[in-house]
């Protein structure tokens, strides 16, 4: 390594004498080196090497100067050479080994070995330091540390009060949030009163901030979004807050909403400048209607208001036409009687039951919504075949289950395996078909 250490050393001014002048070290602009300085060009390997203190006698490298000095003592140098050289070391500047880099030019050399190392790393090196929270990679450890301190500590808040931990979610929300429309409408109204710069973006920039704070101040305090909402649904994107803010009526709030609707109408007029969006009149009407319907029919549950929650849930449930609801006797009644007993039976048990039931009634199915029993099976063998397949499968399952877990628990559609529950003798071959009886079911833990 010593041989490669300094591949070439030359100075910018060839006729420089060996005692360079100044005691004062002034800091040049980066990349504009002191013309008197000695330019060192290190190879990438050397540059990235950690041992930059080199013994001039044997060439061994050390990370710290103290260690180098300790080592030099071992060479038994004559006295005068033992000291460090008295002359001021010549100012050294370093060039970047990367040919395409601007700092490869000696005129743009960097003055600090640490500096050139960092530069080389950052620009041309492998980024091996990765931030935990985001995907950013860094080649220089100190850069990485600096970033880690600030990463992820940002939170994004929309004017409507909703908080976001991710920028993309925030941006998407903000684009469609009525808070933005409101702000734009207000700004547009203001600018219309002044000089008519309906299409002027500049007004938005200047007055946007003002409008926002005004808007929030105008809200009565009890309508301010509830930040402390416990979100049962994952990360902090509580849509409920928006409905609180815009929604369910106090007088002043309705007034605000009505006012905002008119503003949106006027904004609609401005927007027709760009392409063929919509006729301004129809747009205003449309948005009014939609605002109204949205305000008055918002059905989203508010986690801070449990009463509302249950009622909206019920609505949704009723709305979703479960196919089970209308045939109570055929299917287990999972809305009314809360415990769903059948689903905890094993598939095989259910199959058995289905097969047994087949014989009872042959009354054709009618619309009084009651099922008088399954039709008699004209091909009893088909269901039996399926059952047998399952039994065999179960026996494998049971077997391997006990081998691995040493317990009788087997979960086949939620129930005990083909042979019955825990503690009972298992029939691995599936030969003895157990009839459905309470004891075998209860045996399953």
């Amino acid at each position: 390594m010593a041989g490669e250490a300094i591949s070439k050393a030359f100075s910018l001014k060839p006729d420089q004498d060996l005692n360079p002048p100044p005691a004062k070290k002034k800091r040049n602009l980066p990349g504009t080196p002191d013309p008197d300085a000695e330019v060192i060009a290190l190879s990438p390997k050397t540059l990235m090497a950690t041992n930059r203190f080199l013994c001039e006698i044997c060439g061994k490298g050390f990370q710290r100067d103290q260690n180098l000095q300790l080592h030099r003592r071992g060479h038994n140098l004559p006295w005068k050479l033992r000291q460090r050289s008295t002359k001021e070391p010549r100012k050294r500047v370093y060039v970047c080994p990367e040919k395409t880099c601007i700092h490869h030019n000696p005129l743009r050399a960097l003055g600090d070995l640490t500096g050139i190392k960092k530069h080389f790393c950052r620009k041309h090196g492998e980024k091996k330091w990765k931030c935990d929270k985001c995907s950013k990679r860094y080649a220089v450890q100190s850069d990485w540390k600096a970033h880690s301190k600030t990463c992820g500590t940002r939170e994004y808040r929309c004017d409507c009060g909703t908080l976001f931990s991710r920028r993309d979610s925030f941006i998407t929300h903000r684009a469609f949030c009525d808070a933005l429309a409101e702000e734009a409408a207000r700004v547009s109204a203001v600018s219309n009163q002044g000089n008519n710069t309906a299409a002027g973006n500049i007004n938005y920039l200047f007055t946007g901030g003002l409008m926002r704070s005004n808007m929030l101040q105008n809200l009565p305090s009890n309508m301010k979004p509830n930040m402390a909402n416990n979100n049962v649904e994952g990360i902090g994107q509580c849509r409920d807050e928006l409905s609180l803010w815009m929604g369910h009526g106090s007088q002043s709030n309705e007034h605000l909403s009505n006012a905002s609707m008119h503003h949106i109408g006027s904004m609609g007029g401005a927007a027709t400048l760009h392409g063929d969006l919509f006729a301004s009149n129809s747009y205003a009407q449309q948005i009014d209607q939609n605002q109204l319907s949205w305000l008055y029919s918002s059905k989203l549950p508010c986690s801070s208001n449990n009463g509302e929650l249950t009622s909206t849930m019920k609505e949704a449930t009723d709305g979703s036409q479960s196919l089970l609801a209308s045939v109570p006797s055929l299917f287990s009644n999972q809305h009314q009687d809360r415990p769903p007993p059948m689903s905890d039976m094993s598939a095989t048990a259910l199959l058995q039951k289905a097969a047994q039931i087949g014989v009872t009634s042959t009354t054709p199915f009618e619309e009084h919504n009651k099922f008088d029993g399954l039709l008699s099976s004209s091909h009893p063998s088909s269901l039996e075949n399926i059952m047998n397949e399952f039994m065999v499968a179960n026996s494998y399952d049971m077997y391997s289950a006990t081998r691995r877990h040493g317990s009788s628990k087997d979960d086949l559609g939620g129930g005990g395996g083909g042979g019955g529950g825990g503690g009972e003798t298992r029939d691995f071959l599936g030969v003895g078909v157990q009839t459905l009886c309470p004891s075998s079911i209860n045996g399953w833990i």
């Binding site: 849509r239 969006l277 199959l351």
Partner: protein, 442 residues
């Protein structure tokens, strides 16, 4: 008359929760052969019910479908009964998945003439309640999982790269999620060092009666107005245009408009951004060549970039049994992933699951052009794109980084990997979910 619910109602404790079956299934057994799928240890956390249950449900569903196809009413009804008891729609995610398929089978059975007995009972109760979203609601909804935003993020990065230097950018957004990708794209373009371009945004508003969820509760005009307003707030001038056009006819009217417009668009970058929409264009399995035709038409517009983001699965088989297995072995992911994020009683989860239920019904119960959910694998899409005269471009390092950041912020099961041909793939517990690919004319 036998009443099953009351007389034999036996209260049983729920099955033991964290019960893992790793190699429970004997791969030699002909019935339960799910072992062929890649299987990670974390998949064992399939909440509540174990792996065997899923295999069991799948087999019962297949047997049931088979009975329906064979017009074996009795067997079909018996199996429907069993399945219904095994899989309440509000059970664990496995049960919910099965319940959705069960529902779809019932719809299918009622459409096949011979099932007169079933029809009166079931037909009345099979309507799914699809929620209509406001724009803000939809914005929050698509962030429940990275299912959609994965594609948005990858696409936006590729788009911004592709339009560097262009002062006018025309984005054709063909997406099932109604422009939810656009705000972040506007934001990125607004932050360009060279300043934002003039943006033309064109969207196809479907004229078809069969429209997949999610549904909007506002018109596209209003949606567009909001977007234009947002762009303005970022100092970006944007023009929003809607063209009535639908995937059923391969967006013929849209292509025509674009063709005309392209003739006079000097110096304008054209981006065609397809997010989950292309699989609604009928393909050869529906007896038409519209899918490849569409891609060739797009190619003829000389676009600067075409983004193809879709689901990596195959729902195109003619045989309903094969389709059932494919769909079951793919859509379990949707149920499992939401389970990791929303509680069981959550309303949003209901909306989400209703949306998947719609798709399952479409795959299983419908045929011909009514069956619009013709998802095909990323390999097939790549073949089509190449056949149409495109070549794949890779996503830059930054794009990959952003996608990974996004995915890291979601539940632990989500991951990203690079496909074998420049595409990026979103994975859930190791299984492929969505792929994102970028194409330029070759």
């Amino acid at each position: 008359m036998i009443q099953f619910t009351h007389s034999s109602a036996i209260l049983l404790p729920p099955p033991p929760p964290s019960f893992h079956h790793n190699d429970l299934l004997n791969p030699n057994h002909q019935l339960l052969h799910r072992a062929s799928r890649p299987w990670t240890a974390s998949a064992a956390k399939f909440h509540g019910s174990c792996f065997t249950a899923a295999g069991c449900m799948e087999e019962l569903l297949v047997h049931c479908a088979d009975a329906i196809e064979a017009n074996d009413d009795t067997l079909a009804q018996q199996l429907l009964w069993v399945l219904n008891n095994l899989a309440p729609h509000d059970g664990d995610c496995n049960q919910r998945l099965t319940a959705a398929f069960l529902r779809a089978l019932i719809v299918r059975a009622s459409k096949i003439g011979s099932f007169d007995l079933l029809t009166p009972t079931f037909a009345s109760s099979t309507s799914l309640h699809l929620h209509r979203f406001s724009a803000v609601d939809l914005a929050s909804f698509i962030d429940l999982t990275p299912w959609h935003r994965f594609g948005y993020t990858a696409a936006n990065a590729a788009i911004v790269d592709a339009v560097e230097g262009f002062q006018i950018v025309h984005i054709v957004d063909l997406s099932t999620t109604h422009c939810m990708q656009i705000p972040t794209l506007i934001d990125m373009l607004a932050n360009r060092p060279e300043g934002p371009p003039f943006i033309r945004l064109t969207v196809a508003t479907t004229t078809s009666t069969i429209s997949p969820p999610p549904m909007l509760d506002l018109s596209y005009q209003e949606l567009g107005a909001k977007l234009v307003n947002f762009a303005r707030s970022r100092n970006v001038v944007m023009e929003f245009t809607t063209i009535p056009s639908s995937p059923t006819d391969a967006f013929v009217s849209l292509i025509e408009q674009l063709r005309v417009q392209r003739l006079v668009s000097e110096g304008e970058a054209l981006i065609v951004n397809c997010q989950m929409m292309l699989h609604y264009i009928p393909d050869e399995t529906a007896g038409v060549i519209t899918r490849s035709m569409f891609l060739k038409s797009v190619r003829s517009l000389e676009p600067n970039l075409v983004i193809v983001v879709d689901e990596d699965a195959d729902f195109t088989a003619d045989d309903v049994l094969v389709r059932l297995r494919s769909a079951f072995n793919y859509l379990w992911i949707a149920y499992d992933a939401i389970d990791a994020f929303l509680p069981r009683e959550s309303e949003r989860r209901r909306w989400y699951e209703a949306g998947i239920g719609w798709r399952i019904e479409n795959v299983i119960a419908h045929e011909g052009l009514q069956r619009v959910e013709r998802v095909e694998s990323k390999g097939r899409w790549a073949q089509r794109m190449r056949g149409a005269g495109f070549r794949a471009v890779e996503f830059g390092e930054e794009a990959v980084g952003e996608v990974k950041t996004l995915v890291d912020e979601h539940a632990r099961g989500w991951g990203v990997r690079k496909g074998d041909q420049e595409e990026l793939v979103l994975t859930w517990k190791g299984h492929h979910v969505v792929f994102a690919s970028a194409w330029v004319p070759s």
